[in-house]
């Protein structure tokens, strides 16, 4: 299987602070990959590098074999990396369906020039209709079709998370980054979310990289994981191996005191 994401000694320093260094992650196609670690380990920083919020100080990464360097966030998204945020960032004053339609904005099949829209040429109506039906299709998968005309900010928390994932998926990515998707959810919602993520993987043939603190959630979902601590890779590999790793246990719950 080909590698969708390949990072090569990725690292970033903010002044003297090395937020992360020597991060090597290889994600195969159609895999759900976990990135865990204690607070402040640099997990979101890795996400921010991968999505172009920060430019890496060291190293590089390849998406589908193509090296991505010095690209803006929107360009990286167009190349095929979509993300969700730790604290949900929806377009709050827009309806649910319009949120997803913004995600569809850059797809080639919905290309429609500025003047075409300003002059309301027939193509504008065609594109709008297609975008709306496509957005509804996506919302249907996430069980949000009933709420499509509600404002995004009026959705309950769990559904806002789902909408954010739907919007990210609408951009037609090769790799989906989920930043703490289960944060603030109750066990039932977490279970449902895990099912949704599996469904996305199977239905869209998607490769997913996710951050989470809920080890039960991560171990039930991910094929392989990487553990970060203080910006360094602590362990990587299969779930059971990693979670039994001495260093990992130490990082999470501390050293056992010798009696």
């Amino acid at each position: 299987m080909e590698n969708v994401l390949e990072t090569n000694n990725l690292g970033i320093a903010f002044g003297g602070l090395k937020a992360c260094e020597n991060v090597n992650i290889t994600i195969k196609k159609n895999e759900i990959y976990g990135l865990i670690g204690p607070n402040g380990a640099g997990k979101t920083t890795v996400f921010n590098i991968l999505t172009g919020v920060y430019q890496p100080t060291w190293g590089s990464f390849k998406l589908d074999g193509e090296e991505i360097k010095n690209l803006s966030q929107e360009k990286i998204n167009q190349k095929g990396i979509a993300r969700t945020f730790q604290n949900i960032r929806l377009f709050n004053n827009m309806s649910v369906v319009r949120n997803v339609m913004v995600g569809l904005h850059n797809r080639k099949e919905y290309k429609c020039g500025f003047f075409t829209s300003a002059l309301r040429l027939p193509k504008h109506f065609k594109v709008e209709k297609e975008m709306r039906s496509k957005a509804k299709e996506l919302l249907d998968i996430f069980g949000l079709l009933e709420e499509r005309n509600n404002l995004a900010c009026n959705l309950p928390y769990g559904k806002q998370r789902k909408l954010e994932i739907a919007r990210a998926l609408a951009t037609n990515p090769k790799l989906l980054l989920l930043d703490e998707p289960a944060a603030g959810m109750n066990p039932n919602e977490t279970m449902e979310l895990a099912e949704t993520i599996k469904l996305i993987r199977d239905k869209f043939d998607m490769t997913i990289l996710l951050i989470d603190h809920d080890l039960k959630f991560v171990s039930g979902l991910c094929d392989r994981i990487t553990v970060l601590n203080f910006g360094q890779v602590l362990a990587e590999g299969n779930i059971s191996d990693v979670l039994n790793n001495k260093d990992v246990i130490e990082a999470y719950i501390g050293k056992q005191e010798e009696l």
């Binding site: 803006s72 339609m101 309301r120």
Partner: protein, 385 residues
Amino acid sequence: MKDKSKFKLKHFINYIVIGAATIIFTILNFTGVLGLSEQFLLEKITIAIILAVSLGLVVGFLGELSLGHAGFMCIGAYIGGKISALLSSSSLGTGLPNLLISIIVGGIAAAIAGVAIGLPALRLKGDYLAIVTLAFGEIVKTLFLNSSDESFGGPIGLETPRYDRNHLFIIGFVLVLVMLAIIQNIIRSKHGRAITSIRDSEIAARATGINVTRYKLLVFALSAFFAGIAGVLYSFSNYRVQCTKFDYNYSIEILVMVVLGGMGSVNGSILSATLITFLQVQLASILTGDLAVLQNIFYALVLILIVIYNNAPALKGFRETHNLKTFFSKLFKKKKEDVDPSLVKDDEAKWNRIPTKINMDELLSMDVKVTESTMKPDKDKGGSS
């Protein structure tokens, strides 16, 4: 899934109202009812509408504060006026072609200025962008103030050719309609969605692949373009352009129109621009001589009252019963039909089914068993005090 495809009156109501106003005033004009002052008022109103709606695009839809709108208008007024003056001496004369060419040239000049100021300034956000645009407006004003007599007239101002007064406000109305069509079409397209997404969350918009810089520039250019057109209309309406008019206060005045009309509401901007301009002109004609000082006080008073009416929590109930919507529905005697609760799909029906009246007698007659646990808090209280 057939929703949204049908014709929606509320999307076209402003075209209909403005179109009707154009026709009515045109007929009144040619029957000779409208005097010079009414024509001038109508011209002022159309200029104000164009300014308010175009600034509303930046403030209400893009979510950036721009305080330099008068600057763009100034550029349009001077460039358009100059072009018109140059053309009038050529074979074109001062007819309609002259007007149209100068309007387009003035608009484009302002749009170029919009892009030029936008490129460096749009890296900034919020208050910082507001300050840069404010400075831009002042710079433009000062530039024209210090121009030579032959070029733009300097402090005396630029004299523009006299255009037939009878037609000018009609052209103003037509321009308002054209602008409305372009701006509303864009807002209701995928590009409009991209623009509003930037307003709601710029970070998320970038992560969703929206080219934020491009859209910001586009909105800035479009808004400046229409501000420039308003400037050209102004120069025709006043026969003379003087840069002192386009100061900071004027930018704020346009912003007041946008804010009063409601951010992100095109119809609101149109309405408030009309009302404020009308109010100003009326106050200026009523309060003359020594009373002229009162103009600004009255103006401010009305603004304060409108803001209180729109936002005071105490007036919430009053607003809900006395607003334009209920006024119009009463006017057309359109009563809300009673909907069968079982037919309503969403939560509304569920709320209807919940009995709202709690039977107090039933509640009071209920026996409350006093157990040890309910007694305990009192005991603790006694013990501590």
